[in-house]
Subunit: 340 residues, 2 copies
Amino acid sequence: MATLGIKDIAALAKVSPATVSRVFSSPDLVSEKTLHKVKKVVDELGYRPNRMGANLRTRKSGNIVAIIPDITKPVNAGIIRAIEKGAQNAGYSILLGDTQGVEKMERHYADMVTHGQADGILLFGSRLPFKVNCDQPLRQQLPPLVNGNEGIDSDEIVKVAVDNVAAAKAAVNYLVSMGHRRIAAITGPKNIPSSNKRVRGYYEALEDAGIERDDRLLVVGRYDVKSGVDCAEKLLQINERPTAVFCFNDDMAIGAMQHFQQQGLKIPDDISVMGFDDINYAEYVSPSLSTVHQPLQEIGEACINLLLKQLRGEEVPAGSRYLPYTLMIRNSTGVVPKQK
Amino acid sequence: MATLGIKDIAALAKVSPATVSRVFSSPDLVSEKTLHKVKKVVDELGYRPNRMGANLRTRKSGNIVAIIPDITKPVNAGIIRAIEKGAQNAGYSILLGDTQGVEKMERHYADMVTHGQADGILLFGSRLPFKVNCDQPLRQQLPPLVNGNEGIDSDEIVKVAVDNVAAAKAAVNYLVSMGHRRIAAITGPKNIPSSNKRVRGYYEALEDAGIERDDRLLVVGRYDVKSGVDCAEKLLQINERPTAVFCFNDDMAIGAMQHFQQQGLKIPDDISVMGFDDINYAEYVSPSLSTVHQPLQEIGEACINLLLKQLRGEEVPAGSRYLPYTLMIRNSTGVVPKQK
DNA sequence: TTGTACGCGTTATCAA
DNA sequence: TTGATAACGCGTACAA
């Protein structure tokens, strides 16, 4: 079928191409009569307007590219889902940019904006995939962009996340309230701002409780289950073993729990484990995992709404928007074991 | 910056727009000298070709839309990831279509092809989001399309999946080999072909073992953790309680395990639980979950490759491509408990 | 309310 | 190897 275009319809309906266009984009401007006339022809031939023509003309692609380090992480998947819904409601589609942490791919997807394939960027990575000119204010060099989960360390960017400092502090405060004083942390990779903020919260809580830092109790993980196992192993080698471990995400907490249990420790009787994220499965591991809940849907919605605002040309001030976290206390945490 | 186009570059480099175009799309046809000359201007001005113009002209969007019921399911996320990688290598981008099972959204995303926003469809839903004309062969009415995970029940479609009948049969055979004869199944929703095939495998295995069917042992779930809990509850109400439960996905298996344990049953001493999918967390629940491994990456790769073939215009015969499953035997299954 | 005419940025065709 | 020119399918001033 030789693709039929707006002017074929126009000819058959005996109107001008402009009128056919109006039937689709602003039907209010067309009289009832011609509206029906055109629609009839459209239905008969099964004509569908070609968006590329329109996009070229309007200089909008109708796409938003979501740059995500790893779509298989439940946290990211949950956020993406909300984002897509919001995008669709506004007539936008989501181009998926799972970068697997590779900078080259981040660049590739970011370039879609400069190539006109996308109108804005939702960025969940931890670096800015642009060449930035330091002489100019950053904001002016960027396309419409929102950074989720505080990946980027800059004040000139629109960001959405939970308050990672406060959330981590609350988690550790809770452990302190259960009597723990040897509290370890399994962190994310070193250069990730969100992880660094959680470290800060961890330290602040310790300080508030008058607990001295012990560097051996802070071990660096990679946010996956396996590294939770590895880090747990390291922690057990310390002479004065921790009585509680705060993991910076649930995956590592699950790995840590498994290792502790394999070593014969009872959770939470011998050691408490706390996670971060509250993924679906946190409730269903044994024992069920105490963790910090992140409102994924709300985060996603906030991200897409802030981006849509920018795409509409509204001013959106830079800086972080904080959404409320919730401490989920389940069965992997308890009071500090009695001293032997 | 008033967007600069190919002819601005052409003017500044003192060549024709056509030559500039060739520099990007077929540099071989351009002499070294003019190549450098053009590239220099391009670099100086930071010109990036606008894909929409090209797309309009070539009548290709360079996009593939992936229609997925639920991106937050680890199985889907794993497949998507592989798909995107393959797409990117071939110069395509993935438009994400998380439909949340809503037919209207499936249609919306399917329409992107007719609107020229996408060139092909990867479909993981369980129905065809098109109006089909029964008078004509189905295949001719469809755009380039691959159906993953045997969602659709038609021979005229290109499909990729594990052999669900054989996989389910193997799982049940294994349970039989451990001495179980009261083997329950927690299935997926009734109208999903992949679930129905697993039911068939379940029945075939029972038959081969000379075990009579007991309809009370087949309960219908919804593929989420909660429904695993619900179904497990139902199974415990049966007088002659099953000694093994084969769940059609890991989420339901995790829910079922939790319920059994809360009821004081030991797994696998009192009851064996088997899952399907082998999601990341299967290994880390307690006890670790025996399950049927699906090769997500391979499935994703096969899907995208078969679609790319179609997009290149090659003939791709309809029908299912089966990829190998693997029985993962962990600690949630064991020998049948002794009769009291 | 409708039609005319042009342009969005690129590629394809042909001729030079 | 390069250039001139005509599409691709649509939106939108502007005029009618």
